[in-house]
């Protein structure tokens, strides 16, 4: 491990991507993630890479299709309204099984909304914002050290399974600074990309990267192949942090920076003799359902805290499957719940549950 450096979250993403071997970046500026573009614009030319500020988000995602199709490690980034524009490309790339990384530093919506932190894009990311039966692996880091490690991992997962991975953060994660310790060398998954369209040099049959399958039998077979890949990922790539869950009266859950507020709440609650545990999904898809199901056996209730009107809470309810009540507390519009607000909600719930 090297020495610690103090960096902004957005810059950490860009630096981690470069360390993971990403030499191609396509983007269109939007707050609060434009620092990623700035960093890439400065650094990629120095290492023989390509930085393109595209004419639009749609152009950028299709440039990503091209770079990934040629077998390169490549990335695009944007924030909520821009990610909406990329949905067609995301669906196409998923069908064509192109590995790449898409970063969404989420801002508050709907619509053009505002630029403050939010988590309102959960459904879009994990349920499919584009058309058709596809999945992306969605990673939700809570600290900048984790943001660094998961960005490298995002490229590895993408290459390993030929899938899109999304890094989902919020404006606070992108804008804040924390010390980072970079490794001297990254663990890079070396994928066999013999499928890539790199030119035959007249020595082999040509490769095809496509998302069009006109014949029903062929397209269904392709869908079945995608689904079995998703099943494999769901069994192998779940990441979750469980904190203080043993003997917890109530288990709170949140992803990203909101989980850090909950850790403060847990500390404050302990001072009042209230035992609160935390389940923090690190992969939003695949969702860590097992952790919820297992803890439903002993805890009294669950509370999902989100910067949304209630999105991840639906997956929590599916995982808990009616065994225990699942409550929700959320703020929207860029408002962030305070520790006191959340502790009050916890007390109200426990009172309802009979202490």
């Amino acid at each position: 491990m090297g020495k610690k450096v103090l960096m902004k979250g957005n810059e950490v993403i860009a630096e981690a991507a470069i360390r993971a071997g990403c030499k191609h970046y396509f983007g269109y500026p939007i707050t609060p993630q434009s620092d990623i573009s700035h960093y890439m614009a400065k650094q990629l030319p120095l290492i023989g890479g390509a930085f393109v500020q595209a004419e639009s988000e749609i152009a950028a995602i299709n440039m990503l299709y091209g770079a990934a199709g040629a077998g390169a490690r490549a990335m695009t980034s944007s924030s909520s309204p821009g990610i909406s524009l990329k949905q067609e490309g995301i669906s196409y790339m998923s069908c064509a099984e192109l590995p790449a990384v898409v970063v969404n530093i989420v801002r508050c919506g709907p619509g053009l909304g505002g630029i403050l932190p939010a988590q309102g894009d959960y459904f879009q990311a994990v349920k499919g914002g584009g058309h058709g039966d596809y999945k992306m692996v969605v990673l939700a880091p809570a600290s900048l050290q984790e943001l660094y490690e998961l960005t490298v991992e995002a490229f590895n997962i993408a290459d390993k399974y030929r899938i899109l991975t999304m890094i989902m953060g919020d404006g606070n994660l992108g804008q804040m600074m924390e010390p980072i310790e970079f490794k001297d060398k990254e663990d890079i998954y070396e994928a066999n990309k013999s499928w890539a369209t790199t030119g035959t040099q007249m020595k082999r049959e040509h490769n095809t990267v496509t998302s069009i399958y006109i014949e029903a039998e062929v397209l269904e077979a392709h869908n079945n192949k995608l689904q079995s890949k998703y099943t494999e990922i769901a069994s192998k790539e779940v990441r979750v942090e469980e904190y203080n869950t043993e003997n917890a009266d109530i288990i709170v859950t949140a992803y990203g920076t909101v989980a850090r507020i909950l850790k403060n709440v847990i500390k404050n609650a302990a001072k009042e003799g209230i035992k609160v545990g935390l389940i923090r999904p690190i992969t939003l898809w695949p969702f860590p359902s097992e952790a919820f199901a297992r803890n439903a056996e002993h805890t009294k209730a669950f509370l999902s805290v989100e910067l949304s009107a209630g999105q991840m809470v639906e997956d929590v309810r599916l995982a808990v499957n009616g065994k225990k009540p699942v409550y929700f507390y959320g703020r929207t519009g860029g408002m962030i719940p305070t520790e006191n607000e959340i502790l009050k909600k916890i007390k109200d719930i426990l009172e309802k549950q009979g202490g």
Binding site: N172, P179, K267
Partner: protein, 177 residues
């Protein structure tokens, strides 16, 4: 030891950079630190603020809404954040620019005409350093030597000749009564 700090004022007063230098110095002492800027639309309206946490344990949420210390470099910032300081905390105001007294009685208050003092010392843009000096003097949060090291490591070389003057202002700030 855990300090949760809000630094607030106008854009251009070195609010964000003051927070960065402080966090960097904390990191050099191997403390756990975080720095979170306001990046909302209010920046364009002229105010800026940042949250800095420096602690011996792990930083939880980087958001500060119960500060141990507030540095207020203009009246709107004091109006907004006066109530965000924990009882027993401290408020340090630039009394060159803030035109009122603190209403609370449960916090330690320092009124320092930092902009005027920095001007007299030759550079009004060092007012933020003066106030940081008081913060360090009041809290013993970091050693001034760490702050000096953070200046050398974060400022571009062409500004290094200004560091001795900044350090003098920091030390004057620490000792300001």
């Amino acid at each position: 030891m855990e300090h949760k700090i809000i630094i607030a004022g106008f854009g251009g007063q070195g609010i964000l950079s003051a927070g960065k230098m402080l966090a960097y110095a904390g990191m050099l002492e191997n403390k756990s630190v975080s720095w979170l800027p306001s990046y909302g639309p209010e920046m364009r309206g002229g105010t800026a603020n940042c949250n800095v946490i420096i602690t011996d344990e792990q930083v939880g949420s980087p958001i500060v809404n119960d500060a141990t210390v507030l540095i207020a470099m203009n009246t709107p910032s004091l109006d907004k954040y006066e109530s965000w300081v924990q009882p027993g905390g401290a408020i340090i105001v630039d009394s060159s620019l803030v035109n009122r007294q603190i209403k609370r009685e449960d916090v330690t208050v320092y009124y320092i005409p930092a902009t005027e003092l920095a001007e007299q010392a030759g550079n009004s843009t060092f007012a933020n350093i003066y106030l940081l000096g008081k913060l360090i003097g009041h809290t013993n949060l970091i050693k001034p030597e760490s702050f000096e090291a953070s200046l050398y490591q974060t400022l571009r070389e062409k500004y290094h000749h200004m560091i001795p003057a900044e350090m003098k202002i920091l030390r004057d700030g620490m000792e300001y009564k």
